[in-house]
Homo-oligomer: 246 residues x 2
């Protein structure tokens, strides 16, 4: 296991807080175990008391809840570089499920080690806090998306978000990428039904806003899609590397 396994984490934290050599070392030295996990496996279940957080090294995962009538709500999609489960593991009892979409590689990091590091290296703690604040920003946008946009705008919006995030993570281009979600999963992430997602995607295509093949999305005119999807990247708080906030 190379010592640089956790370097995506360092990269991410550096966006927020200028870490000196010792601090970077401390992050890289976090105890962890890398595992390959199949698709559609649970990493954490609601009500669990998880002892580890995980850093996504490859693949995709979702955060979701099952409500009373059995239907599912997806609140986030995680990809390479994202730290999932800070929410769950730090707060003690998991309030949502984390499930892989595809085969993934994840680095499991003990909860206690993260807390100790945050106390020992406050600037690292600050950066992790910032990362959580960005998660919050994304949740708020999803709330707005689900509650106040129609189906077509809503789907356009999530397509824009994925495009930017995938591009930022080096997994594709915003104008052409592989979408690792079924229409049913898209439905659960947008508060729609799979049938209506299907019809709305077709409508987006008919309007010339996107092109589709099996699981890939193409965007001919990004600006036009952004406009139609009521999308603005501000809420993602994407930052250029090597330009920490402080």
């Amino acid at each position: 296991m190379p010592v640089s396994t956790l370097s995506p984490l360092v990269r991410k934290l550096q966006l927020w807080s200028a870490l000196d050599g010792a601090e970077q070392e401390a992050v890289l030295a976090l105890p962890h175990k890398v595992e390959r996990v199949d698709g559609s496996k649970y990493l954490v279940r609601e009500d669990d008391k998880p002892t580890h957080s995980c850093l996504m090294l490859s693949g995709f995962a979702i955060c979701h809840k099952i409500v009373g009538d059995g239907s599912r709500s997806i609140s986030a999609v995680q990809m390479k570089g994202d730290v999932v489960d800070l929410q769950n593991s730090l707060l003690g009892v998991a309030d949502h499920n984390v499930q892989t979409l595809t085969q993934t590689e994840v680095a499991f990091i003990p909860r206690q080690a993260i807390m100790d590091l945050a106390v020992r290296c406050p600037k690292v703690g600050l950066a992790m806090w910032y990362d959580t604040l960005v998660d919050g920003s994304m949740f708020r946008e999803w709330i707005a998306n689900i509650s106040r946009r129609d189906a077509i705008t809503r789907l356009g919006h999530i397509i824009c978000e994925f495009g930017l995030r995938l591009e930022y993570a080096g997994l594709g281009s915003r104008t052409s990428y592989e979408l690792p979600m079924t229409q049913e999963q898209l439905a659960d992430a947008t508060g729609l039904t799979a049938v209506h997602v299907n019809r709305s995607l077709k409508e987006l295509e008919a309007r010339g806003l996107i092109t589709r093949t099996v699981r890939s999305v193409g965007v001919a005119d990004w600006d036009r899609l952004e406009k139609a999807a009521d999308f603005s990247a501000r809420y993602l708080h994407l930052r250029e590397p090597n330009n920490p906030l402080q």
Copy 2:
């Protein structure tokens, strides 16, 4: 201005991290300015670059966004003891609006002072991070609420949430409290329209799940409402005082 103005903040942070005397002092010593703000005033607007966070001392405020077609999405309701605007002020550019619902007293704390404190007293920083994680948990539940529950369940759920939070903040009882929101605001917090909120509240009343007067809510049988509203308090991560996580 008494030195104990910020004590609600100490109380809140203590839930997560056992702070020693010096750390408590450091929190209380945060520079701040207390102001009385009228109802329906903006504390922060989207796109602002706020320089302060604010601790709510009394009254109510909401976080909201206006989407492309002009409609509004409320993502959170803040009350006494809540720190609003960490999200906005720490990340630089505000991604949502914060607006008072009622007359409020707020303590404005400079963003830089909070960041400095988090670095100087890492356990305080950790506690603030935890508080942000709880916010995230609430956002996820709201996403589930808005996307996958019908109107009646959705409203019942938010009524349960407010009951518990108000009781926890010492502002009423879960079975009888003043609700500081109009039906239009409830609509924007649940992804419904004001008209449908009205009809659904009446239906909740007709089913004997709640009683209403002008702006107050009564719950005759809490357990029955919880059940009908698919409510479980887990996501609020309410903790007993004097029992820090570590």
